[in-house]
Amino acid sequence: MTDPVLEPVPHLGTIVQAFVDRPASHDQMLQAAASRWPDRTAVQAPSGTLTYAELNDAVTSAAASLRSRVAAGSHIAVAMSHDLDLFTVPFVTSRAGVTALLLNTSLTPSGWADQLGKIDPVVVVADSDNLPAATQAAKSGGHDVVAAETVWVGDDHTDVTFEPGDPDQTLALIATSGTTGVPKMTRVTTGGLIHAGLAYCQLLDLAGTDRSYVCLPLHYIGPLSAQTTTMALVGGVNIIPSDTAASGALGRMAAAGITYVDAVPAWLGLLVRDDASAVGARALPQWRTLIYGGAPMPAETAGVLARRFPDLRLWDVWGLSETHGPATAREYDIHAPPLPGTVGPPVAGVEVRADAEPGRPGELLVKGANVTPGYADDPALTKKIIVDGWLRTGDIGTVGPDGCVRLLDRAKDVIMRGGANIFSVEVEQVLTSDPAVAEAAVYGAADNLGEEAVMATIVLRPGANLDVMALRTLIDTTIGRHAVPRRITTADSLPRNATGKIDKVLLRDRANESAPHV
């Protein structure tokens, strides 16, 4: 890994550090890839395989076809499954100069209808899998729906000339995970993707020999920056499996000669639990890079992966959709397992500080060329969360003297009880340090005095018994009396949202409904 060459550039009213060797735009990145590596495979998907030259031609055709229907600067929506068309969307929109709302296929048509209402796209482009749901979702707002095959595999519109790519162009909108409240439409810009992608390339030493396994949905920011963008920067290939499940994934990865994976901890937990079989380092000798984020990585999962794949480098990445993925990253070292919540120093070009006295916990703020210009559907919230170029992340943590970031909690998950702040993540970490506990979720619920009470739901390991008193004593002695949960209950599994984050809103609602009001 060589030191990156950075230069100061203006961004969001401040000065940030940008990679000197950056493509001028996302579209120029693809054009450069097509001219440097025309015959290299760019993508292998269930419905087809394209080289960089073929991808470039397909993008031109689709962009021209799209522009024959909508003007530059328009908003469209896409309802597409995990396949070739969805993979090409960011390339097509950047060439066509339009913005695509990426509809999450795990949502219902009514969820789509809400999002369409906010963005009011000129047209909804749906692949055959999603055409009925898109038609239903578009009905209330009267939005036009067209089949992807009529747009994406359009006629040869070679007469269309495109505007030069603009790094500030919003090429996609994605709903941030919305663990609380209403999802917001984060702007994904061509410049933001490029800087996030370059930071990943530099951090992970990605190269044209990399074969990237896309198991996360292509409408998430993770694969958009860490995989779709990075591979186009280095001339590597993205493999889009028809089955993204963790079960059997190691076998599929081995067959595809995978070198690089971006995943969430819950998926990796299933991967190591499901596949206790023979697929190990010998079947996957070339797998060298794994990044994960979006939720705390259980120490056990990281340990199993590190032991089973000795040559694999594991990276815990902290970031948000609003940072186009990465803000900090830390490499896992099995000989010195990280303190819980330690997510490393900022990636190249990014600055992180805590909104507090030096060394004290505070809301983490991020500055960099990869920070989004904001939410398309909420300018007022944008002004609140991006102040002088610093993004308020909503995560509470500390920044050490060495610049390393330690996450303590989501701001909204901090439990306030009797004037004390209780960091739910800290209590969860203590609970899962008990050998009987596989997973823990800690959240606040109202008690009968109008205070927040600490509630814990745990999943026991197979064969383990619940010892409430032992767990209470453990938290009492490690954190303090104020953090001892009012109730510790067990469950077979923890509810999670589509991105694998524990759904604490649901747990809190359940606790408030079932609370004894005596």
Partner: protein, 93 residues
């Protein structure tokens, strides 16, 4: 057969805090033994008052002079306190 006051107190504690009956020995202290914080102990007091329709406020007429909520430290103390308060309540009515 009626349920004893001790069992009903244990049930209130279990409803609120999910503590197993085995943990509720007469000598176990509410604070260090059951790890209840001061807010939880106030909540328990309120819950017991509502369940048994008694007044456990310090100095309340329902209480013996020598048995004060402020000095109740153990689970046994609490059961004793509730039993005494219930009895005085009955005598008064």
């Amino acid at each position: 057969m009626t349920i004893s006051i001790a069992d009903r107190v244990a049930a209130v504690i279990n409803d609120l805090f999910g503590l197993p009956a085995a943990a509720l020995t007469p000598d176990v202290t509410l604070q260090d033994g059951l790890q209840l914080d001061s807010l939880s102990i106030v909540e328990l007091q309120v819950a017991l008052e509502d369940t048994f329709d008694i007044d456990l406020a310090p100095g309340s007429a329902a209480l013996d002079a020598d048995l004060d909520t402020d000095r109740a430290q153990t689970y046994g103390d609490i059961v004793h306190l509730v039993q005494a308060a219930v009895q005085r309540q009955r005598q008064a009515s």
